[in-house]
């Protein structure tokens, strides 16, 4: 029973990943792409969390922290790059 529910949750995360990839490919502005990359990273974090819950193996915890760091640093750098280019 629990595995079925977790599989449904994993399916929801997978839909979010697909939607994010669609927006990365399609998005008319750079901002859309970076927001979609942020959503993609968060969905991957949640998928890793579900994996850890299913297998009861917690060695992947630091990976979550590192992914969160990457998402933020990526968003901030693209935002600053866009602002700089706008000032020219």
């Amino acid at each position: 029973m629990m595995n079925i529910v977790l599989a449904i949750a994993a399916l929801m995360f997978a839909v979010a990943v697909v939607a994010a990839i669609y927006r990365i490919v399609r998005g008319p502005a750079h901002v859309d792409r970076i927001v979609a990359a942020d959503v993609l990273t968060a969905a991957i974090v949640c998928l890793l969390g579900v994996w850890m819950i299913v297998t009861e193996d917690t060695t992947l915890m630091p990976v979550l922290l590192a992914l969160a760091l990457f998402a933020v640093v990526g968003s901030v750098s693209v935002a600053r790059f866009m602002s700089q280019r706008n000032d020219d």
């Binding site: 529910v5 977790l6 979609a36 579900v50 917690t58 969160a68 933020v72 901030v76 935002a79 602002s83």
Partner: protein, 136 residues
């Protein structure tokens, strides 16, 4: 005593599964919002906000499922970090979008920042202090 630990474990597992479903709902909403919404700034709202609750829910579920101090410490660090830095990233991206005007301005029914940007140079030239009449 053994029955009590069993019941607490089952309740903890049930709660963890419910939290994972909540996180799934949030990520699904973010994904669907990314696809559906017509405008860059609204996509930013839908994409960057509910995922904070999703990450909080997933970390709480992990801690409920495998309680131990290292996991609690790392999970609380992840949650704290997300809550501190996600608004900064969303703010910078939103500010860059607003300044580069690459969004659909017709959806704004009230734009006080544009009014302020228009009025400020005239006010400075007239020698008045750089404070518009307060709005509380």
């Amino acid at each position: 005593m053994d029955g009590l630990t069993q019941i607490t474990e089952q309740v903890g597992d049930g709660l963890a599964v419910a939290l994972v479903l909540v996180a799934g709902l949030m990520s699904l909403a973010a994904g669907i919002g990314l696809m559906r919404f017509p405008d860059t700034l609204t996509r930013l709202h839908a994409g960057a906000k509910p995922q904070v609750l999703g990450v909080i829910a997933i970390c709480t579920a992990i801690v409920l499922r495998m309680p131990s101090f290292p996991i609690l410490a790392l999970a609380s660090l992840v949650v704290l970090f997300q809550m501190l830095t996600q608004p900064i990233a969303a703010h910078m991206v939103g500010r860059a979008t607003y300044r580069s005007e690459s969004f659909d301005k017709s959806t704004l029914i009230l734009d006080e920042l544009a009014e302020e940007i228009d009025e400020a140079p005239a006010r400075r030239k007239a020698g008045k202090p750089n404070l518009k009449p307060g709005k509380d």
